[in-house]
């Protein structure tokens, strides 16, 4: 028998108050999706989500032991080591990391955070004052901000100071460093979280609700691209800050640089520019908080309270270019099921926000990496009219790789799973159009890249380079598509989520190696071929061997593994609870 203490009972009584129930409702759905049966949200659960968030910071901190360990430095002969100066680039990385991850989470889940039509339908008829719903949601937002900021940085807040102070003899150094580091990265996280809220709040306050819904996807895409660009340039920024001139001045406008200034200021080692940046960080934090609160309050009044007055209608114009569409259907899409599935998949990709965001994130990643390659190529000299460098050649390959991998991943994400009955009913499981449709969708994204690349390469390096490179991009992309779709037997978006595979880390490593082979190695080999054509003879059989292997693998796939599937784990009509056991 359990006896509850008066404190516990009092706490339980508090927890049962309507306000706290509402706070729990609003916070819970960020982790648990919509909570509807068969909902296609990825339901991680609170514990798993928080643990996953805390992992990367801890892992990165541990990797830095190599840099700060005194024994290792001694073995390398590094006797003159300024730990303060050495920690600045790593500190900058942690600031950027905490800001990027927090902002990405808020961008990803902002629909679940703000009260919507469903909340209106469920909560407003209850005897609850509107003010209480508003305050509960606001409390949930602030609570989540605090939880994310602390959880995300908890690992690095402890481990990074331990790593940095490994060669220091005083505990005071560790204590001071840990305090300043923790404060900086948590404030950076809070800032980025509030900044995204402020953007959403201001847009919702200024724009009509339907206009906001329409541009929401583009705003998210822009934010994600900015975050990716900040993360991918984090290694170069501390070095660039040391330089003078216009570029250093521009870099100082980055919020992440403000927080680096705050870190230096709190440690008492700040230059005048860093003190200025620290002041900007504090002012920015205050401004983000004020804007987020005002924006939230105004948007709540404008949007939530007026939900019944707004009709959620998205009217599109009638089909454009029907003749071109019909011609495309006739020439490219062979039969009726293929035609229907192709249009369904394309519509889902373009209109479902969750799916578009994932594809946009991969495309953004591709753009960022490709831009870095282009910048490197420019700094080394463009060599117009001569032989293009591997960096220049890698640009369309990087874009194609990122897009194709993103598309393959997004095909696994279900959209309105309960609506897939129409495909179950009307498609022949023995002749699934899934792989063909997926292939054609992927080609629809990749071919325009090759199409754009062709005139650019022709203009800069001539016909031979232009056609050779576009050809290589198409052939390589086709081989990659065939590899990615080797065991694919679904109509994209109509199958339940695959379970978290035990070999997920191996898959990530394979994709990274794939990126190296597909984009970087190919570009290098192509550059070599252009410089020394004899190398090309050795490279020619590569795609043929690839095609031959894929053909063999497909031929050996048993027929049962080629049948159309709609469920990763077939569900039974009902479940035995075995209560008597």
């Amino acid at each position: 028998m359990t006896v509850s203490s008066p404190e516990t009972s009092r706490w339980q009584a508090y927890a049962e108050l309507p306000f706290f129930r509402l706070v729990r409702l609003f916070t819970g759905r960020v982790f648990h999706g919509g909570g509807e049966p068969e909902a296609e949200e990825l339901d991680l659960g609170l514990g798993a989500a928080l643990a996953l968030l805390a992992l990367p910071g801890s892992f990165i901190s541990l990797l830095l032991f190599d840099k700060y360990g005194s024994l290792l430095r001694l073995m390398r002969g590094q006797t003159n080591f300024d730990v303060y100066a050495a920690a600045v680039p790593d500190e900058y990385f942690f600031i950027v990391f905490s800001m990027v991850v927090t902002a990405a989470i808020v961008t990803w889940r902002w629909d679940s955070i703000f009260p919507d039509r469903r909340d209106y339908a469920n909560l407003v008829p209850l005897p609850l004052p509107m003010r209480q719903i508003f305050l509960a949601n606001l409390t949930a937002v602030l609570l989540l901000t605090a939880v994310f900021a602390v959880d995300l940085n908890a690992g690095s807040a402890v481990l990074f100071p331990i790593v940095v102070s490994a060669s220091q003899e005083t505990f005071l150094f560790f204590g001071q460093f840990a305090l300043v580091h923790a404060l900086t990265i948590i404030l950076a996280s809070v800032f980025s979280c509030l900044a995204v809220f402020a953007i959403v709040g201001v847009l919702l306050s200024v724009l009509p609700y339907m206009a906001f819904r329409r541009i929401s996807l583009y705003v998210r895409g822009l934010i994600l691209t900015f975050l990716l660009a900040t993360l991918s340039t984090s290694f170069a920024v501390p070095g660039a800050l040391r330089g003078a001139g216009k570029s250093a001045g521009l870099i100082r406008c980055l919020p992440s640089v403000w927080f680096l200034g705050l870190f230096q200021w709190l440690r008492g080692r700040a230059s005048p520019a860093e003190i200025h940046a620290a002041k900007l960080a504090l002012a920015g934090l205050g401004a983000a908080l004020a804007l987020a609160l005002i924006g939230y309050a105004v948007s709540y009044r404008r949007c939530f309270i007026k939900i019944p007055e707004t009709v959620d209608i998205t009217t599109r114009n009638a089909r454009r270019l029907p003749r071109v569409g019909a011609l495309f259907d006739r020439v490219v899409l062979r039969d009726s099921p293929e035609r229907a599935c192709y249009h369904f998949v394309l519509s889902t990709l373009l209109r479902s926000e969750r799916h578009s965001i994932v594809v946009a994130a991969f495309a953004g990643l591709g753009v960022v990496v490709a831009s870095e390659m282009l910048v490197t190529a420019f700094t080394r000299g463009f060599n117009r009219g001569g032989t293009p460098s591997a960096e220049v050649l890698s640009v369309p390959l990087i874009l194609c790789y990122c897009l194709l991998v993103g598309l393959r991943l997004v095909f696994q994400m279900p959209a309105e799973l309960r609506a897939n009955w129409i495909f179950r009913l009307l498609l022949d499981p023995g002749k699934p159009p899934g792989r063909t449709v997926a292939r054609k969708i992927m080609l629809s994204f990749v071919l325009p890249i090759a199409g754009i690349a062709l005139p650019v390469y022709v203009a800069y390096w001539g016909w031979l380079v232009g056609f050779l490179h576009s050809g290589i991009v198409i052939v390589w992309s086709w081989l990659l598509i065939e590899t990615l779709l080797l065991y694919f037997r679904k109509i994209p978006f109509t199958c339940s989520y695959p379970s978290f595979e035990h070999n997920a880390i191996v898959s990530v490593l394979i994709y990274l190696l794939g990126f190296y082979a597909f984009a970087l190695l190919t570009a290098k080999a192509e550059a070599e071929t252009l410089a020394f054509p004899a190398v090309g003879i050795l490279l020619l059989p590569a795609p043929m061997v690839g095609w031959w292997i894929l053909r063999g693998l497909r031929r050996d796939t048993p027929e049962i593994d080629q049948q159309l599937m709609f469920e990763e784990h077939p569900t039974t009509g009902f479940e035995l609870l075995s209560l008597n056991e």
Partner: protein, 255 residues
Amino acid sequence: MLEAKGLTKRYASIPAVEDLSFQLLTGQVLGCLGPNGSGKSTTVKMLTGLLEPSRGEVLFRGRNIQDDLVGYRKCLGYVPEEPNLYPYLSGLEYLEMVATLRGMSRAKLDHKIDELLSLFSLHPHRHASIASYSKGMRQRILLIASIVDNPDLLIFDEPLSGLDVTSALVFRHLIKALGEHGKAVFYCSHVLEVVEKVCSHLLILRKGAVLAYAPAAELQRETGKSSLEHSFVHLMEEGDATKITNDIVEVMSAP
């Protein structure tokens, strides 16, 4: 046209439907009734081929539907219980997708969909996303999707839910007209008045087994009741509805 022979479905040895047999002839409208959990949905899923029976078979024109499921479904129009549609597609796009999946030609589907959308009062909303549709509008989209390819067999699972009075009235007449035009209709519903008015034959299920299967008039005669509602209550042998109602009010108003 359609025949169920000893249909049985078990989930982990628990029977959901047990030894169900009936025939649905051309021009017949067979109403399927039963309380919640009686096996109606499982029966419908087996009839549409979405669920494979544990025992027994479904014959369409004398052939087991599992032998040529694709061919069978070409002749089948189906309205499921829940209007699960893709909310980001417009009504027109959804219907075009279904018609294309059914193999209809572009010219034919354009014309038919346009006409049906007008007749079901959805033409002005055809380009709006389904997310903005009311339940009744979604139901009408499903109804159009089920009849657009002129199938010989129609299976309707609670097709009237959410429909406004006019649409429900139109649909009621439509079911009758479909029967008169030689279609076979399997009609599942809880609305006894409608079943009484449109169905020529009745199949009543209880706990997965057939409680009654007969022409509607014959069933009423046999039970000796004046309406289908009374016959149904009599057959179900469930508690007196008036007594249950009074008990509910009593519990509700208790301090």
